[in-house]
Amino acid sequence: MLDKNGIAKRIAKEIKDGYYVNLGIGIPTLCANYIPEGMNVVLQSENGILGMGPFPFEGDEDPDLINAGKQTVTLLKGASIFDSALSFGMIRAQKVNLTILGAMEVSENGDIANWKIPGKMVKGMGGAMDLVASAKNIIVAMQHVNKAGESKLLPSCSLPLTGIRCVKKIVTELAVLDVLPGGGFKLLERAPGISVEDIKKATAGKLIIEGDIPEMIL
């Protein structure tokens, strides 16, 4: 089973040289730590940065320089700053190659829910609805089951949706799965020490298993 860093490490393998990438809050942010040295990847932060760098050294933090998670960050060489309309303009125009974000639920047809639990948690969607509605390539980093042991990979989402038919790939603590255009979670890889049976038990939506499922290489 993977921990949060393991999930981030596996997702980072999907990032290719020359990509512009938007990383959501939480596990997706950790992916930045696993981008191989020498690979040219530009991180976009939707509050208005291309070329976001790591956290500043102690004492160098600047209240005017934060990421979309409101954390203090730095800029890399070649970075640019722009306003929020331009930021979502480049997202809508599909200039950003890959969006990685978290989810509470994903359905077998690629619907995603991650912004609201009615009566419990209403923080808002932030930029998530814009990102999922426009991005060509969306990878979701999530836990396969919730704290009560219930699957979060479902036939259909029970929570209010963030976007429809948009998720392409999911990486959980148990597995890597593709969401097929015609519906269904296609199992691609198992996490170390996890069996196909374990993944079947944890997946409520339609699971497609073809042939031997390899263990993921991290």
């Binding site: 939707e46 409101k70 929020s84 619907d111 209403v122 808002g124 969607m125 930029g127 814009d130 426009s134």
Partner: protein, 235 residues
């Protein structure tokens, strides 16, 4: 053209009960601290506030909420504010949560003189309820878009890094965020700046908001510039 006013109290003159105002800032980054403090002092009530976030309990727009001066918030993300959540759940506060890009682009449309925009954000979700959906073939694919109306706030309030008496504004780093869009959308736009420079000192090529969009400008009395999440690495 001299658009300077003396201070924050004079700057917010004319903001009355029940009005709609837009405010710049992302989280606590680049918020117009001085005008918010002046609004608290003025006691104005029943405001509708268009702002990406709602501040934290004891800073930013959280101060207006604390004094029950806000009737409705139009925002994309409102976490980090317990008083906000309490007022929302008790029904004291109306909240319209909208996607961040939609918020930005509705402000932009206001400042660009366009009544509406079409965006795919929110299609198939509760955000789409009651909205006109149009199908376009665009960028190589055919898909649904929501029609969203431009914002036309009666007042807009922003904080800029530098500005001059003509109202030209320059923002610093990510404190830019929504502020140029907010500034452009307002019927009357107020800018508080860290540095009010002599006319001609700003490089015309580097102005983010031309003064035509700005009606009142002043040097902010005090900038706390609070950091919401101080994240650092060790040297």
């Amino acid at each position: 053209m001299n658009k300077t006013v003396k201070n924050s109290d004079e700057a917010i003159h004319g903001i009355k009960d029940g009005m709609t105002i837009a405010l710049g800032g992302f989280g606590l980054c680049g918020i117009p601290e001085n005008c918010i403090a002046a609004l608290v002092r003025s006691g104005v009530k029943n405001l509708t506030c268009i702002s990406n976030n709602a501040g934290v309990d004891d800073f930013g727009l959280g101060l207006l909420l604390q004094h029950h001066q806000v009737k409705k918030m139009i925002s994309s993300y409102v976490g980090e504010n317990a008083e906000f959540e309490r007022q929302m759940l008790s029904g004291e506060l109306e909240v319209d949560l909208i996607p961040q890009g939609t918020l930005a682009t509705r402000l932009l449309a206001g400042g660009y003189g366009m009544p509406a925009i079409f965006t795919p954000a929110g299609v198939g979700t509760e955000v789409a309820i009651g909205k006109e959906v149009r199908r376009f073939k665009f960028n190589g694919e055919e898909k649904d878009y929501l029609m969203e109306y431009a914002f036309e706030p009666e007042f807009s309030i922003v904080k800029a890094w530098k500005g001059d008496a003509d109202g030209n504004l320059v923002f610093r780093l990510t404190a830019r965020n929504f502020s140029p869009l907010v500034a452009m959308a307002g019927k009357i736009t107020i800018a508080e700046v860290e540095e009010l420079v002599e006319p001609g000192k700003l490089d015309p090529q580097e102005i983010h908001v031309p003064g035509i969009y700005v009606h009142r400008i002043f040097k902010g009395e005090k900038f706390e510039k609070r950091i919401e999440q101080r994240t650092v690495r060790k040297k």
